[in-house]
Symmetry: C2
Subunit: 325 residues, 2 copies
């Protein structure tokens, strides 16, 4: 992204890789090391640190507590992968595949406790607020996962329901990450609130970008199978928007493609994308992402610190919104 | 136990029953209400309050944080029941049976977060210590569960290994409960340490009592099937002791009974109990329980508060050690 940001990500990554997480019994701690070292962009701790740097510079003071977010995030991945029966995570077998479900349940539990351990690096005067906010966010993430699971058995999900689900499952943790940086920097409540809202809109934008990339990514740059969400009948913003805007015939066709069994995957993706293209779902989604981006940046703009301090944060957000398209 | 203690248990129970735990989505929060209202003796929060009352009287100040222990305990039951494939808990279907495994995983996760929410009732100056100690204990409980699962695939478990496992899985939380009372009362480190050790020994004693009751309980008073641990091939103190003290023939017979398939359950229990009886495993176990009890009480005796203040705590411990035998 730029040299300063890359160095920061590298230092976060190094901390994560150097942690021991625990020794005995090995079956409990090895899966934690495994998932924490699978990589990932370390976006959430990065955003927390960049939010902190709007106000203060001594990043070393907060790097440990900020890792709580990455641990919590990976804990949710470990448990979500069991619930979603997912075989692969970042190109490697998921924990419940490599070991078994019981191991993934119990190691996940230990990981959540470890996340709270990281929060103990927060200075004592800030700890009650940090834990309260962390808990609120963590519960939202659980609520979002439950709603996402509920959606699997629903035939129709409205745009409003979908946005509510991703605001809990995805945006809440991005919002908390940014707010946490503000809390650690002891910025005022208005700044913390603005950071959280900034993160909330960015989180919605990221998720819609994910949904969009599943269909419209450059095959050569995209790490995953194009159309994977369509093949697995996942409810995405694109599908919901097409069900909303399409003709009766489109709706019927989508219903058939997303409920039929033993369909040819290639044909299914091609036919669904034809409908998306005709309804300009790509344009509609990009418009929604743009609006979230604008709304989010307006919150960041309102924070009264020199523009120079906001540069890295804006750079990361642009990178995430405009990645691989 | 006595009127004062019974009233305290009733007030803990009422608090637990009056809590809402959360509303939407219902699938996430309903299982939490369900398991929290299944009953149980509320021993852990009770012990914490009685430890607090060694030093202070204003119990209302600490009842909320102390419920963190009961929530954490029930969270472990919800997840352990999935891992152990247990159909029944306190006479009712387990959460993963009544709903499904995914619900039990996710509701359990939410419950652990809720436990940390309860800890926020601790006064801010004590919060860092409370969370640190809680985390240490919580990790031990996870380690103990992992060891217990590992034992299932081992043919032989030594007494030392078994005691290490139950000291983590069971005794750590009893030890923390008592220490937590001391922390909340702002008693000194020596008192907190003594309370933890008292709880540690009591926890070991309780577990051995559980093991003993499985075989030697009065059928009419015991709520569970007599010999259930034998039928399910569970490694208990009784079995480990018999494997240690028995002749080569006893060892061979035990190995056969605990690894054979399609055995007659009644005959199996009768034959195993015959071996236990011949080796006086009951006497040996009672001796071990007695020693833990003595060791624990010595720690309690060393705490410099008037004897009068220790009465209720001793009463509860005696009740737990000498129950239903």
């Amino acid at each position: 992204m730029n040299e300063r940001i890359d160095a920061l990500v590298a230092s976060i990554d190094e901390r994560i890789r150097k942690k021991s997480y625990g020794e005995q019994p090995l079956e409990l701690y090895e899966p934690i090391r495994y998932i924490m070292n699978l990589g990932g962009k370390r976006i959430r701790p990065l955003l927390a640190i960049l939010a902190y740097r709007l106000f203060k510079d001594d990043v070393d003071d907060i790097i440990e507590p900020v890792l709580a977010i990455e641990m919590f995030h990976n804990f949710t991945l470990m448990h979500d992968d069991i619930m979603d029966n997912a075989p692969i995570r970042r190109g490697f077998p998921t924990v419940h595949e490599k070991w078994n479900s019981n191991t993934a349940i119990l190691s996940g539990d230990a990981m959540m406790i470890k996340a709270y351990d990281q929060l103990l690096g927060v200075k004592p005067s800030l700890l009650p607020t940090a834990i309260k906010e962390f808990n609120e966010c963590a519960l939202k993430v659980c609520e979002g996962q439950q709603l996402d699971m509920n959606f699997e058995s629903l035939t129709a999900v409205s745009e409003e329901q979908y946005l509510h689900m991703i605001s809990l499952k995805t945006a809440a943790l991005i919002g908390f990450s940014l707010k946490f940086g503000g809390i650690l920097a002891e910025s005022g409540p208005a700044e913390c609130q603005a950071l959280q809202e900034f993160g909330h809109y960015m989180g919605l934008g990221f998720q819609l970008t994910d949904d969009l990339l599943d269909v419209y990514a450059d095959k050569n740059k995209f790490g995953k199978q194009v159309g994977g969400d369509i093949i697995s009948n996942k409810k995405t913003y694109l599908l919901i928007k097409a069900q909303e805007c399409g003709s009766q015939g489109d709706k019927e066709a989508l219903r058939r493609w997303f409920s039929g069994k033993n369909l040819d995957a290639k044909e299914k993706v091609a036919e669904v994308v034809k409908i998306y293209d005709r309804l300009d779902i790509k344009g509609l989604t990009e418009k929604a992402i743009g609006a979230y981006f604008e709304n989010g940046l307006a919150r960041l703009d309102a924070i009264p610190v020199p523009e120079e301090r906001k540069k890295d944060l804006k750079r990361v957000v642009e990178y995430l919104i405009y990645r691989e398209k």
